[in-house]
């Protein structure tokens, strides 16, 4: 009951969140219907529109609203570990994302069958990578929301992501062929949201590649999924740590 109420709350805490889902799905449909994209073009759109922007829209103020209104003061006096408050809400977001991408898949399948346009090849892979990216951004945004009041977490994360992408692009461009290039690439590739790795996963670049880890052969796509899940767990861990150690004042902030 507790887990279900906290997960359900992530959809009903603001009255317009279901409308966000509808608008996003309409955009996928419109993109497919009007532009007749090839699977990679559609994948790129799904990846950025659903994987990056959707979690920001859904997680705006997910903790910050409660902190600003003072509602959090009642929630953290309930007899369960406060970390669950974070964990179940993140699971709620993740579930919303899973249902959303499943519906997106059904939608383009229906459009494909009705119109006979384009092809469905690789769409499943794009849906998976978009959902994994959704989870990392949702975790990061929820963690930010523990320390940032109201809905500023999403805006802050959006600006930070754009800034980081620009800085990384400029830096890597200027370091082409330099001895430091692999180091800087690794710095931007692994600890931050795995836009590049999951984009490759969606495109199918890792389908036949394998990695050797401690003498074991591991499919690169599996390693990529594991990395994304691990990052989500680390971002969530930071948020849980912040939430369980934070003090809350009963006055409205």
């Amino acid at each position: 009951m507790r887990i279900w109420e906290l997960m359900k709350e992530t959809l009903w805490r603001r009255e317009y969140l279901w409308i966000v889902h509808v608008i996003w799905l309409a955009c996928y449909g419109g993109f497919w219907w009007l532009l007749v994209p090839d699977p990679e073009e559609f994948g790129n759109f799904l990846f950025l529109w659903g994987g990056v922007l959707l979690p920001l829209a859904l997680s705006a103020g997910i903790m910050g609203d409660d902190i600003a209104s003072g509602r959090i003061c009642v929630l953290v006096t309930k007899p369960f570990w406060s970390g669950k408050l974070y964990l179940y809400r993140l699971l709620g977001l993740s579930l919303q994302g899973a249902v959303h991408f499943a519906l997106a898949g059904v939608l383009v399948l229906v459009l494909h069958v009705i119109t006979g346009k384009s092809t469905m090849a690789g769409v499943g892979r794009w849906l998976l990578s978009a959902w994994l990216l959704f989870n990392t951004f949702a975790a990061l945004s929820t963690s930010l929301s523990v320390v940032v009041k109201r809905a500023h977490n999403s805006l802050l994360l959006f600006v930070a992501t754009l800034t980081l992408a620009v800085v990384a692009g400029m830096l890597l461009h200027s370091l082409q062929g330099h001895v430091l290039e692999p180091l800087v690439t690794g710095f931007f590739r692994y600890p931050f949201p795995p836009l590049e790795l999951l984009h490759h996963l969606g495109k199918g670049d890792y389908t036949k590649e394998t990695l050797t880890v401690g003498g074991w052969q591991v499919a690169t796509s599996v390693a990529c999924v594991a990395h994304s899940v691990l990052l989500t767990a680390v971002y969530a861990g930071m948020g849980i740590l912040l939430l369980t150690r934070r003090e809350f004042l009963s006055q409205r902030e």
Partner: protein, 324 residues
């Protein structure tokens, strides 16, 4: 008496067990990125003990430390020094929160949820299973007379409706200790009377209640246990009587008041005297019967006797002035 600033009283064997115990609590708020001089000491070495069934009124001027004390007991903030146990467990622990009900001064709810959905949500967070949850929700609706608005969205609620709902949430699962911050804010007179009756019943059933309120008259009708807070300390009243125990006796007479005051009573007893009325100093309610009998024996024709006790407002003002 529930509190001492330096040492908590040793419990007698017959007393009910303590539900909340605080020892030498100090809370200093430090402004981040600010110099050390920006620190604010909100609470200084406060010790107190609240027992089962006790209703404690927490009063004091703004900034006295009342909300800080409530927040510490609720586990919302951590003391800089000192210890707090709630229901025998350290505050902020899950076991301590199991016996705790908390109602904030400004309750907030999800605007799209109805009162019923909100109660169900909080009941689920308390871990109540399906049948018990439904029964608890219905009980809260009945207890707090929320039938008229239980299915309306919380976004449309008046302050009084929010207060009722917040109280219902705090009382779910019958907590051992209820922390109420200004519970009668926005309630209509009927709501205030119902709240008073409800809290009295809860106290009689063994729930310890700590109420922070500026409505001194309301508190006075509910309890005689007060904590006067000022500048982060509990203002001691050792050696004084509590509100309601000291004061005067107003005695109405047919005639001859001045003569009676001069011949029958010591000067220290007479506060005011006129032909038809005497105002006499009384330090103990037990003195009243003897005093009236003495006046009657001396020939006074008494028309009425009205005890005039010092009320909580007078004591509050006096303690505030002394504290300043």
């Amino acid at each position: 008496m529930v509190a001492q600033t330096d040492e908590a009283p040793a419990p007698a064997n017959s007393e009910p067990p303590a539900v909340v115990e605080c020892e030498r609590l100090t809370k200093v708020y430090r402004k981040r990125l600010a110099a050390r001089s920006r620190s604010v000491c909100a609470l200084r070495e406060v010790s107190l003990s609240v027992r089962r069934g006790q209703i404690v009124g927490l009063i004091g001027p703004n900034g006295a430390g009342k909300s800080t004390l409530l927040n510490l007991i609720a586990g919302l903030i951590v003391p800089t020094e000192g210890t707090i146990t709630v229901c025998g467990h350290p505050a902020r622990s899950v076991k301590a929160r199991d016996g705790l009900g908390y109602m904030p001064e400004h309750p907030a709810f999800l605007g799209g949820y109805s009162a019923r959905a909100t109660l169900r949500y909080h009941g689920a967070l308390l871990g109540l299973p399906g049948d018990a949850l439904a029964a608890e929700v219905d009980k809260s609706i009945q207890q707090l007379q929320m039938q008229d608005f239980v299915d309306r969205p919380c976004a449309d609620f008046s302050q009084g409706m929010k207060q009722r709902l917040a109280l219902g949430i705090a009382m779910m699962h019958d907590p051992q200790i209820l922390l109420l911050d200004e519970p009668s804010n926005g309630l209509d007179p009927v709501g205030i009377i119902q709240l008073r009756d409800l809290l009295t019943q809860l106290g009689e059933a063994g729930t310890a209640i700590i109420i922070s309120s500026h409505r001194l008259g309301e508190l006075e009708r509910l309890t005689s246990d007060y904590l006067f807070m000022h500048h982060g300390r509990i203002v001691p009243w050792t050696g004084r009587t509590t509100p309601g125990q000291e004061g005067c006796l107003r005695v109405g007479l047919l005639s001859g008041g001045n003569e009676i005051a001069r011949t029958l009573l010591p000067a220290s007893r007479v506060v005011e005297a006129s032909e038809t009325e005497l105002l006499l100093a009384v330090s103990d309610p037990a003195e009243v019967a003897d005093l009236v009998a003495e006046l009657a024996r001396g020939g006074a024709r008494i028309t009425r006797v009205i005890p005039q006790t010092a009320d909580i407002e007078e004591v509050f003002m006096r303690l505030c002035q002394e504290g300043t």
